[in-house]
């Protein structure tokens, strides 16, 4: 154990060859990773850019060459001017913003209530992670059956306990009417269900990271505030929350990116029907439904570009401003 500091101190003296050796070994050990990531991630991404400018259909896949086809902007024209593109973009934005906010909000509440040890806490914590770790196909299927108009438990309980007259096809209804105090409100049923599902499935991710941060917070600040007479809510607002700002901001970025790009959950729950078509599902439709590989590639690039612009704006204005505030 004693030798630990020695090699580091000796390194400059032993000269270049050792460092070169180390560099070579490092790259050699990392090369399998690099090859896989380059071949299956980086090059395909670059290739998507090329495909987006080519007229490529599913049925000519085996014949056409990689660089053979002439380059054209028609794919972008097709996807940007198609009916439903703007709606899909709008739904994607609503889905990402509200979904992110809901899942982080729930995660924060969940982390706060299990912050202090109690009997059975491990079990409670594990159960709260279940929605996130369970297979997406299984959980979407269960939700589908639960919300089924005839077989589902939600409609059955709604009819028995709340006296619903009509069964609600939660996942197929674009707009439902909600009667509140004599007012009839039009609500986007399927989209709301999708958002609730999103909150349910992804709050565990925020919960996990907020809880880890909460448990690492020094207790003395909170204690000092208590001695000074701050009530629990005040301590949360002025002591705990500011210290969680960093992890919440990080979660907001991550969840936003992932929700924005999300395909599985939406496709499995509604197949993008009933006013829930997000851009990723639309890309899939271009690819498999119409067999238009070029248009699918173009639309997926548009999706990535919109995300990049939004992230840039976020870092530019939001992060920039908080940093200014800190220096002031």
């Amino acid at each position: 154990m004693r030798e630990a500091p020695l090699p580091a101190a000796e390194a400059p003296r032993r000269g270049r060859t050792l460092r070169q050796q180390e560099a070579r070994a490092g790259l050699a050990l990392l090369s399998p990773t690099l090859i896989v990531v380059l071949a299956v991630v980086v090059l395909p991404i670059l290739w998507t850019i090329l495909i987006a400018f080519q007229r490529l259909r599913l049925r000519d896949l085996r014949r056409s060459g990689i660089f053979g086809a002439e380059l054209t902007l028609r794919n972008f024209e097709t996807v940007l001017t198609s009916s439903g593109f703007l709606d899909a973009l709008k739904v994607t934005l609503i889905y990402s913003v509200v979904g992110t906010a809901l899942s982080i909000g729930l995660g924060l509440v969940a982390a706060l209530v299990v912050r202090k040890p109690f009997r059975g806490r491990t079990l409670v914590r594990a159960s709260m992670l279940l929605p996130y770790v369970a297979p997406v196909v299984a959980v979407t299927f269960v939700w589908e059956v639960m919300l089924h108009p005839e077989l589902g438990i939600v409609n059955a309980l709604g009819a028995d306990l709340l006296g619903w007259k009509d069964r609600i096809p939660f996942l197929d209804q674009r707009t439902g009417t909600l009667s509140l105090f004599g007012w009839d409100l039009g609500v986007p049923t399927a989209l709301i269900v999708l958002l609730l599902y999103q909150a349910w499935r992804y709050f565990p991710f925020s919960f996990l990271f907020i809880l880890a941060r909460l448990q690492a917070l020094p207790a003395d600040l909170d204690e000092a505030a208590r001695v000074d007479g701050a009530t629990p809510l005040q301590r949360f607002r002025y002591i705990t929350l500011p210290q969680l700002q960093g992890v919440i901001a990080l979660l907001a970025v991550l969840r936003f990116i992932w929700t924005f790009n999300e395909f599985d959950d939406v496709y499995l729950l509604t197949e993008g029907g009933a006013g829930t078509e997000v851009v990723a599902v639309r890309v899939f439709r271009y690819l498999t439904g119409r067999g238009d590989v070029g248009a699918a590639a173009a639309l997926s690039l548009v999706l990535a570009a919109v995300l990049a612009v939004l992230l840039l704006l976020y870092f530019r204005f939001f992060v920039g401003r908080t940093r200014e505030a800190e220096t002031l």
């Binding site: 990531v37 369970a134 299927f141 089924h148 990116i257 990723a280 890309v283 997926s300």
Partner: protein, 315 residues
């Protein structure tokens, strides 16, 4: 005289001045008590709501898998199997298509092959990579993370398009092997992250001792670093297993044409849309799909949570 007056004035004021803060303190104290009591109750209500909301769908899945479809149609609101438990659905979902079943046994085999293959290959690749990043100084060491960002920043569907084209061309589409390669690329970055976090906590001096004794770099990794990192490797393997087992989009794009190659996830999603297969039978399929994940998860929950969130405590 005036002095005394002043003194009495001061003295006279003192009790009042002391009373005011005490009154505020009492009010604050009562607010403290009220808030603590209300929050104390709310806390347990919230915990109960969360537990019910997270566990109920899984309980419902289990209950439906042991009910018949006729029974469900008659009484969709029942919270437990009202007419007894029947395991027929599991027989039907697992049986081969020749016997009138749904062939989930084949799907299980496919999912198993892909998941285990992904775990083995990903670990081989990422142990070497994580070791290099945590131990060795070389050009590009710090830039590697940007490369990994690409995996998670771009939508999976964007990546799926060229891979779909490529694998169709070279004849890998429709093979379990092709899908495994995609899964390796999707899991390597996060496993390297998890393993690296662990390797940096293992004292380097042990490895240096081995190196002084004449062990080669690979021997050092195998004989010294790996045994020490066993728990981390265990957690990482199971994490990769879960990702590969649960994956849907790439399986859908690559394997959908040949029913004999379907994974459990793909099989369930394809059959869920058909009217011929009863929902209760597919619930049995969901249970079969979910149980391995829940077993793996409960076995490694603590390791997994630590591996994923290490570094997050610093904020």
């Amino acid at each position: 005289m005036s002095r005394i007056e002043l003194d009495t004035e001061v003295a006279g004021r003192t009790p009042g001045a002391a009373a005011a803060p005490r009154g505020r303190a009492e009010r604050r104290l009562s607010r403290e008590i009220v808030e603590t009591r209300i929050l104390g109750v709310l806390k347990w209500v919230t915990i109960a709501l969360f537990v019910v909301a997270t566990i109920f769908p899984f309980y419902y899945m289990l209950v439906l898998s042991v009910r018949s479809i006729e029974d469900l149609a008659l009484d969709p609101g029942a919270l437990w199997p009202p007419r007894g438990v029947s395991l027929d659905a599991f027989g039907e979902v697992l049986g081969s298509t020749d016997d009138g079943g749904q062939g989930f046994l084949t799907f299980l085999r496919n999912s198993g092959i892909i998941a285990v293959g992904t775990v083995v290959a990903t670990l081989l690749v990422s142990i070497l990579g994580a070791y290099a990043i945590s131990r060795l100084e070389f050009f590009g060491r710090r830039q590697v993370h940007f490369l990994f960002l690409a995996v998670y920043l771009f939508p999976a569907i964007l990546l799926a398009i060229p891979l779909f084209v490529l694998f169709t061309r070279i004849g890998l589409r429709g093979s379990l092997f092709g899908l495994t390669i995609v899964y390796i690329s999707q899991t390597v970055p996060v496993t390297i992250h998890m393993l690296r976090n662990y390797f940096v906590t293992v004292p380097e001096s042990l490895e240096e001792a081995a190196a002084l004794d004449g062990a080669t770099r690979l021997q050092t990794i195998r004989k010294v670093a790996l045994p020490l990192a066993k728990p981390a490797i265990m957690a990482t393997s199971l994490f990769v297993f879960m990702i590969a087992w649960n994956e849907f989009l790439f399986a859908l794009l690559f394997l959908v044409e040949d029913r004999g190659r379907w994974t459990v996830s793909l099989g369930l999603s394809q059959l869920a849309g058909s009217i011929e297969v009863a929902k209760t039978v597919l619930m049995a399929g969901s249970v079969i799909l979910t149980v391995p994940i829940i077993v793996v998860f409960f076995a490694t929950e603590r390791l997994l949570v630590e591996g994923l969130t290490s570094g997050a405590e610093k904020g």
